[in-house]
Subunit: 228 residues, 2 copies
DNA sequence: TCATAGTGGTTCGTATACGATTTCGTACTT
DNA sequence: AAGTACGAAATCGTATACGAACCACTATGA
């Protein structure tokens, strides 16, 4: 139930049961892109690779299935979830809702220090635009949004946000195209969001802004996908 | 990932793997209240009871854990999740958000027949108030809301709504107190919601109304909990 | 050429067995 | 009498083993 971070450390975490280790390891590989969508996850192979037996690995896979990161077919096996545009739409739409709520709930708890940190991150993102560094941009984007919703007092909602981000991360490595025009707009929207929060704006207003921010990204993707 | 209904048929479903059967069976018992919060779920005992070995049962329990219905402690065991007021608040708050979104997304797809059905259910609920039939009232309440969000085109959101309802159902059997005053208000809010949908009101307006409806239930619980 | 039945190999599904960890009761010491 | 240490029972965690389902391929017949 509890998620620790948007992206966990890659590779092996020492803690916990083997089942937990397997979960972390496979999840990390999916999120970071070592296992691309469509990749066939064979229990025996992964078990051998990690040095465990199949049972904990199986449990890990089922957990990942519940989070939508892998697709499991009975008596056939598991594959890393694909990038069906429809799925992408569903995920983004859901994320826009839970993230909007998380941000709105967090807003009153965001302090000046947080704002400053977020603003610094956002400025770094702006620099990434100049030097065209999409990888770094994406990572900073995560950091920025983490600041916005990390104070969310409702752990359930926070968990849903994390799941959404993980799901996107697994897709991003293969499909997502960095669109400079959209990225620039994104940075501006970030600044606008910060100003709303600074001004202690209405929760509803903040929620709407956060939603729009994500919807805009979705729209950019859709129109691009249409033309390509 | 896919949920079939708010409450599934109790007892044994014939279909699927043993793991799936175990999941359905245990879930049903939790939701219907045979296993109350705090109940100790011993793998071996359940396995023996169902006639399976422990492995599929274990998998079922982990799945239920991911949905928040049970709490699992390493090397100790699983118990049916309790009714911490804080947890209740978190669940209701999350549900108000996802349910609001689901209802708003469904609204344009709700036809006259659906409205009529919902209205009939709501009138039945009103009758339950006269004859004081809380059990039936609760069941009808589920039916009513199902009509509202069942057309939600985003399966992820729908899934979250179902999970929330299941979670509440498991709590309700032990903690929830039927508050006639609140129930009466609830029926009126239902009617208001229907009129909004009938009038093809703004999605945002419908969403807000759906949220308020749930928040009001939460508030009623909180103020009651405080006085008792 | 195409449809179909058979066959081998791959992979999952579950049972059983054993080791690891925790819990709880009991006896002993202070 | 209270606290602690120890040991036994209960329970989970994982490995291994075997059976079942599925898939791809080939051979056979129309």
């Amino acid at each position: 139930m509890t998620e620790t971070a948007v992206t966990d450390l890659p590779g092996l975490t020492t803690a916990g049961s083997k089942s937990e280790q397997a979960y972390q390891a496979v999840k990390a590989r999916i999120v970071e892109g070592s296992y691309s969508p469509g990749y066939r996850l064979v229990l025996a192979a992964i078990a051998k690779d990690l040095g465990f037996s199949v049972v904990p690995v199986r449990e890990a896979i089922r957990r990942l299935e519940a989070e939508g990161l892998v697709k499991f077919e009975r008596n056939v096996g598991a594959t890393v979830s694909g990038i069906d545009p429809t799925e992408y739409l569903y995920t983004m739409q859901t994320l826009s809702i839970v993230e909007g709520a998380a941000t709105a709930l967090s807003a009153p708890l965001i302090g000046e220090a947080d704002i400053a940190r977020a603003r610094a991150v956002n400025e770094e993102m702006r620099e990434c635009l100049e030097h065209f560094d999409p990888v770094r941009f994406t990572r900073l984007n995560q950091d920025f949004h983490s600041v916005l919703f990390e104070h969310c007092p409702n752990p359930h909602i926070l968990d849903l946000v994390h799941r959404g981000w993980n799901r996107l991360a697994s897709l991003r490595s293969s499909t997502f195209r960095f669109v400079p025009g959209r990225a620039r707009a994104s940075v501006d929207e970030h600044e606008a969001l910060l100003q709303l929060i600074e001004a202690s704006a209405d929760a509803d207003e903040i929620e709407k802004a956060a939603r729009r921010h994500r919807s805009a990204t979705l729209d950019a993707y859709l129109s691009q996908a249409k033309t390509v």
